[in-house]
């Protein structure tokens, strides 16, 4: 279990309870259960308090938590017959974006998502979920496939942003993102996106431009990272708390602004404390959103999606 900065006091109590129990297992006749239970209760109360009124910055930390379920976990549990499809047919296969054919509730779909990796080795392989142009071009291919064979697209968004690298720029990072967003707005099949962790800027827009956008309760979606915003506007990257506040990047604020259509509740203490429950809740939400879109004609789907984006921006937030 990895604890976040603000969970340190909780880590101490949970650690103590565990220590006591371990001690009792080693030394026969020692009864610690009452003490341990008291600590459990204290920990549970503290967890509830900590997660009751999370600041935007804390939400950012939770959204980036290494133990959160990642794209791969969702695909494994929510889909059957997952058949990964690789490559952009131009240059490479970008491992930071995974996707392919699969069945969702037995119905064939195309699934696409950012994968961050779960340990050092896979994180490097997946480039921490930061895609290069090849990744977006693969996404375009997959969306085209879905469009040609009338399959709904489900996208799982979890990226710090598009990769800022020399090769990525040389091979047209901007163009690749622009084409992927354009493809989202062209396909005549339902497109449901879920932000499962971080929705980092243009790299997220590239396939979060959906008919319905759901966000996990502690996920974020932002034009820039709080650190980046702080270093530009406050001239001090350490002002990320203030920036996170000002950017209004939480699922709750985005819902008020009309950008996020549905918030998916997370288990107490965040998705990382109960992966199966989180994944199941996301599955239910996708099901509901697909049903909500219904079966309009291809032309209606495209028109409705474009209308949705053209109409954005009529709702503001109070200070």
């Amino acid at each position: 279990m990895n604890y976040l900065d603000f969970e340190k006091p909780l880590a101490e109590i949970e650690g103590k309870a565990e220590e006591l129990r371990a001690m009792a297992r080693r030394e026969e006749g020692m009864d610690v259960e009452d003490q341990a239970k008291a600590l459990d209760k204290k920990a549970a109360d503290m967890l509830r308090d900590l997660y009751k009124d999370l600041t935007p910055w804390r939400k950012c930390q939770i959204a980036r938590h290494p133990d959160r379920p990642h794209c791969r976990d969702y695909i494994e549990r929510l889909f059957t017959e997952y058949t990964p499809l690789a490559g952009d047919r131009n240059f490479a296969d970008d491992q930071s974006i995974m996707g392919g054919l699969a069945r969702f509730n037995d119905k064939p779909v195309v699934v696409i998502g950012h994968e961050k990796g779960h340990d050092t080795k896979t994180r490097i392989e997946r480039n921490f979920g930061m895609a290069r142009p090849e990744g977006y071009r693969k996404a375009v291919r997959l969306m085209d496939l879905a469009d040609r064979f009338n399959l709904p697209v489900i996208s799982l968004v979890d990226t710090p942003g598009a990769y800022p690298g020399k090769g990525a720029e040389e091979r047209g990072q901007s163009e690749a993102i622009a084409r992927s967003t354009e493809k989202c707005l062209q396909i005549g099949v339902p497109l449901v996106a879920v932000i499962i962790g971080e929705g980092g800027s243009g790299g997220a827009v590239a396939f979060a431009t959906a008919d319905r956008l759901a966000m996990l309760e502690h996920s974020i979606y932002s034009v820039i990272s709080p650190e980046g915003c702080a270093s530009i506007l406050w001239k001090d990257a350490e002002k990320m708390r203030e920036a996170a506040e000002a950017l209004r990047l939480t699922a709750q604020d985005l819902n008020k602004l009309g950008v996020c259509d549905h918030i998916i509740k997370e288990p107490l203490g965040g998705a990382q404390r109960d992966k199966p429950a989180t994944i199941e809740a996301v599955g239910k939400a996708i099901e509901g959103l697909l049903a909500d879109i219904g079966t309009p004609s291809r032309e209606e789907i495209v028109a409705n999606r474009r209308r949705k984006f053209l109409d954005l921006g009529s709702k503001g937030l109070a200070a």
């Binding site: 720029e169 901007s174 800027s201 243009g202 034009v223 506007l233 203030e242 474009r306 503001g316």
Partner: protein, 321 residues
């Protein structure tokens, strides 16, 4: 002497001298450091007469040089919600806006207009880097949508001049949402079969490059413009190595297949006229000295014109000057 010199220059001069330029003002070229007489610089469309460096030019000055006789009509842009996030960093967003308005005498970071270039009706949009770094917020999104809608309605091509540091952070997610919104605008043009020409100017970066600025039918850049998604400083911090000479500049992008052309500002107008006329299936443009257009004597001829007398030397109906 060409047509621009004869007809447009006096207007540019009058605008510049009236608006901002005391006669004795000198500016320093940001590239070579040469001191340039302001009038000389504005006559040269803000291109350094010593080193050819393309300095920023306001949308209004650009349009004055672009449109026939410097005549254009502004297209009204629907006003978005002001300060939707109640954003505050070290300053309040409304205060930053106020300062930008006072400094530029413009409402926002994009100007949209219609008019004719080489007697070809077009809609043009230009981003204003001097207005909060040209940043793309809801207004810029609305401006591009308004430009596209007008172009579709009047069946005209859209020429867009980009210049921006990226999305406007003070509008948070709503600025990011201009990426899909402006993409819808581009789709309107494409579906109407109308040309969408992008002229990338220094600098065009971030979410702007990753949306409408990279979706043109033809992509032209001014020389040595910085065009990128992630800026060079961010990349250097990430990969910890120095970047090659000219990295992310127009010529570098051209070499890497990301642009159609790199064109000097002084040739841009002629080139745009030529391209949009070809894409619109019009007759060849007339270059060089042009007499002031006269009222059209008769409707467009159907037969092919003689080689030395292009059909559009006589203006078509509806032309005015």
């Amino acid at each position: 002497m060409n047509w621009i010199t004869n007809y447009v220059r006096p207007r540019i001069n009058s605008i510049f001298s009236r608006r901002e330029t005391p006669e004795n003002l000198w500016s320093k070229c940001t590239e070579c450091g040469t001191m340039l007489f302001h009038r000389e610089l504005s006559d040269n469309l803000n291109v350094c007469t010593n080193c050819g460096h393309h300095m920023a030019i306001t949308p209004r000055a650009r349009f004055t040089a672009l449109f026939d006789n410097g005549v254009f009509t502004e297209i009204k842009v629907p006003e978005p919600l002001a300060d939707p996030l109640k954003f505050r960093d070290q300053k309040r967003y409304p205060d930053r806006m106020k300062a930008a308005r006072a400094q530029t005498a413009e409402t926002e970071a994009m100007l949209v207009a219609e008019g004719e270039i080489g007697r070809t009706p077009i809609v043009a949009a230009a981003q204003d880097f001097s207005f909060m770094g040209g940043s793309m917020g809801m207004y810029v999104g609305n401006a591009i949508i308004a430009a596209a809608e007008r172009a579709v309605q009047a069946k005209r091509p859209l020429i867009l001049f980009s210049a921006a540091g990226g999305a406007r952070m003070q509008e948070g997610i709503l600025s990011l949402m201009q990426m899909p919104r402006t993409t819808v605008a581009v789709q309107m043009l494409k579906e109407a079969g109308l040309p969408y020409i992008v002229v990338l100017t220094h600098p065009t970066t971030g979410g702007v490059t990753a949306s409408y600025a990279m979706l043109g039918d033809v992509q032209i850049a001014e020389p040595n413009a910085l065009i990128c998604f992630a800026g060079p400083r961010v990349i250097e911090q990430t990969i910890r190595e120095t970047l090659p000479e000219g990295f992310q500049r127009s010529e570098y992008l051209l070499d890497h297949g990301m642009l159609d052309r790199v064109t000097h500002r002084s040739q841009m107008r002629d080139e745009l006229i030529s391209i949009v006329r070809m894409l619109m299936g019009e007759t060849p443009p007339v270059k060089g000295d042009l007499p002031a257009p006269e009222p059209a004597p008769e409707p467009e001829k159907l037969e092919a014109p003689a080689e030395d007398a292009p059909a559009d030397e006589t203006p078509k109906e509806g032309d005015s000057a």
